[in-house]
C-alpha cells in the first residue's frame, strides 16, 4: 500500500501528520510565549495579571492552530465563520461593557497611570488604590469606604495620582488688616515655616502679598512638603501661622463694609 494513500479514521495519514505537527507547534509556541511573557512582565505587574495575559496569549495561539486544523479534517470554515460572526455580534452587544472594561484593564496594567498603594483621585473618588484587576479597580477612600470602579471609567476618567511625585505643594491665603505691617507678617510666616521640619527648604516656600482685598491684605503662602507628610504639614501650619501672627497683634479681619448715607440719619437712642 502506498503510504500517501493511507488513512486514519478517514483522514489521510499526511493530514494526520500535519495536524500532529500543528498541535505540537501550537503547544510549544504557546508555552514558550507564556514563559517569555511571564519573565518580561513579572517585574511590571502582579502575578495575577501576568497569569491572565499569558492565558489569553496561549488560547489565542490555540485558536489560530484550530483555524489551520479545521479545514484539514473537513470542517467547513465558511459556515463556522458565519456562525462565529453572528455569535460574535450577539456576544459583542451582550458583553460590550465587560469587553470594554477588560480592554481598559489591560491598558491600565500596561500604561500604569496608577499602582496599588497610590493615593489617587479617579473622577472624584479619592483614596488609596487597593487592587487593580482585569475588569475593575478597587479604592479604599479615607472615610473607610470600599469603592469598586469599572476599568472603563478609570481609563476614560480624569486620574490624579498624588503619589507620582516625591513632593507636593499646598497653599494658604492669609488675610491681615490694612493697619497691620504686611512686611512684618511676611517675616513671621517665614519664621513659622522655617521651624516646621517637613516644610521643605527646597523647593523654597513662596510668601507674598497677593491681593488687596475688600476687607484684608491677602498674603499668599505656598509650601512644599514630602508627599507622605503633606497632609499633616498642611493641617499643622495654618494654625501655627494664625497663632504666631496674633501673638504679634496681627489679626485676621472680619469682612467690613462702609455704608455712606446721602442724608443725615436721625437715630433715636432707646433706653
Amino acid at each position: 500500500m502506498n503510504l500517501s494513500d493511507a488513512e486514519l479514521l478517514g483522514v489521510p495519514l499526511k493530514d494526520v501528520l500535519l495536524i500532529i505537527i500543528v498541535v505540537l507547534a501550537a503547544v510549544v509556541i504557546g508555552k514558550t510565549l507564556s514563559i517569555y511573557l511571564t519573565r518580561v512582565l513579572r517585574k511590571r505587574m502582579t502575578l495575577d495579571h501576568v497569569k491572565i495575559i499569558t492565558k489569553v496569549v496561549y488560547f489565542a495561539v490555540v485558536f489560530f492552530s484550530a483555524m489551520i486544523i479545521f479545514p484539514v479534517i473537513g470542517f467547513d470554515l465558511d459556515s463556522f465563520i458565519v456562525a462565529g460572526g453572528i455569535f460574535a455580534i450577539v456576544l459583542g452587544f451582550a458583553a460590550q461593557s465587560i469587553v470594554g472594561n477588560l480592554i481598559s484593564g489591560i491598558f491600565l496594567i500596561f500604561e500604569r497611570p496608577i499602582k496599588v498603594g497610590d493615593v489617587v483621585d479617579v473622577d472624584g473618588t479619592v483614596g488609596q488604590v487597593e487592587d487593580i484587576r482585569i475588569i475593575s479597580t478597587t479604592i479604599r477612600t479615607f472615610d473607610g469606604y470600599f469603592v469598586r470602579i469599572p476599568n472603563l471609567t478609570v481609563f476614560n476618567g480624569k486620574i490624579t495620582n498624588y503619589f507620582v511625585n516625591k513632593v507636593r505643594r499646598f497653599e494658604y491665603t492669609v488675610g491681615i488688616r490694612y493697619s497691620d505691617d504686611a512686611k512684618k507678617a511676611l517675616g513671621i510666616i517665614q519664621e513659622v515655616i522655617d521651624k516646621h521640619p517637613f516644610a521643605l527648604k527646597y523647593p523654597e516656600p513662596i510668601i507674598f502679598v497677593d491681593r488687596l482685598g475688600n476687607s484684608s491684605v491677602d498674603i499668599s503662602v505656598k509650601i512644599w512638603a514630602p508627599f507622605t507628610e503633606w497632609y499633616d504639614v498642611k493641617k499643622e501650619l495654618l494654625w501655627e501661622i494664625k497663632c504666631a501672627l496674633e501673638k504679634e497683634d496681627i489679626k485676621v479681619p472680619f469682612p467690613q463694609t462702609e455704608v455712606w448715607f446721602n442724608s443725615k440719619l436721625d437715630i433715636e437712642k432707646t433706653a
Binding site: K166, P197, Y202, P203
Partner: protein, 235 residues
C-alpha cells in the same frame, strides 16, 4: 557625655528633658520635648543602657536616608585637584538598650531642629535631611550634642574649574564615631562633570582613638542597593 548610662540618669537642655530611673524589675524612661512626651517602661533591670550619637535620619520620623549639606560659601576647586575640607553635620542622639548582644532603640531625639529639602526635580529627586555648613579647612569645634564634623575629600578629576554649593550623601552606610569632645564621620566626593558628582561615606574616622557608634540605619532600611550617591542634578 556619650557612652554607657548610669541609672538614675538626667539630661536637661533647652529642647529636651530626659529622666531614667529604676523601679522594681525595670526602668522608667521619660522625655519631654516641648509639648511632646515619650514615656516607656523597660522591663529589664539587667539591660545596659547607652546614650550614643546616631545618623541624623530619625527625627521627627524616618522618611529618608539621604543627607544634603548646603555650603554657606561655595567651594571652588581647580582642575585635577583634591581638597580636604571639613563640614558640620547634624547629630541625633539615641538611647539604646542592650542585652545578650541584642539592641533595642528606646528613643532617638535631637538637640538640633531638623529640616528637610528636595534634591533634584519633583519626580525623580530625593528628599534629604538638610543641613547648612561653612566650609572649613581645619577641623572646626562644635557641640557634640548637636553637630558632628565630617572630613570630606573632594576630588575634581575634570579639566575645568568646578564650584560646589552642596553635597548629597547616601546615609545608609554612614558611620558615626565619637569621643568626649567630638562626633565625626568621613566621606569623599568626586566631581565627574559639570552636573554630576559621586559621594560616599567611608568606614573610618579621621581622629585616632574614637569609638564607633552603634549603627541604626542599614541599606535594607530603605531598600537601597548602592552605597554611593550619584548627584545628577548638579552640585
Amino acid at each position: 557625655m556619650y557612652g554607657r548610662l548610669e541609672v538614675p540618669f538626667k539630661w536637661t537642655s533647652e529642647r529636651n528633658a530626659i529622666t531614667i530611673r529604676g523601679f522594681k524589675g525595670g526602668l522608667l524612661y521619660h522625655r519631654t520635648t516641648g509639648a511632646r512626651e515619650v514615656r516607656k517602661r523597660i522591663y529589664s533591670s539587667r539591660s545596659e543602657l547607652f546614650i550614643l550619637p546616631v545618623e541624623p535620619f530619625y527625627c521627627p520620623k524616618m522618611i529618608t536616608s539621604n543627607l544634603m549639606i548646603e555650603l554657606t560659601r561655595n567651594l571652588v576647586i581647580p582642575p585635577r585637584q583634591v581638597k580636604k575640607i571639613y563640614l558640620k553635620f547634624p547629630v541625633e542622639i539615641g538611647i539604646l538598650a542592650f542585652r545578650d548582644n541584642r539592641m533595642k532603640i528606646i528613643d532617638v531625639f535631637t538637640e538640633n531642629p531638623p529640616n528637610y529639602a528636595l534634591y533634584g526635580d519633583i519626580k525623580e529627586g530625593v528628599v534629604c535631611r538638610y543641613y547648612s555648613s561653612d566650609v572649613h579647612v581645619k577641623p572646626p569645634k562644635g557641640d557634640p550634642k548637636t553637630e558632628g564634623v565630617m572630613e570630606v575629600n573632594v576630588s575634581n578629576s575634570t579639566r575645568a574649574w568646578r564650584e560646589v554649593s552642596k553635597l548629597v550623601f547616601e546615609g545608609s552606610i554612614m558611620k558615626v564615631f565619637y569621643s568626649d569632645s567630638r562626633v565625626t564621620t568621613k566621606a569623599r566626593a568626586s566631581l565627574i562633570d559639570d552636573e554630576k558628582a559621586e559621594t560616599r561615606f567611608q568606614d573610618r574616622t579621621w581622629i585616632k582613638g574614637q569609638k564607633r557608634s552603634q549603627k541604626l540605619l542599614t541599606p535594607g532600611s530603605f531598600q537601597k542597593l548602592s552605597t554611593k550617591f550619584t548627584m545628577e542634578g548638579g552640585y
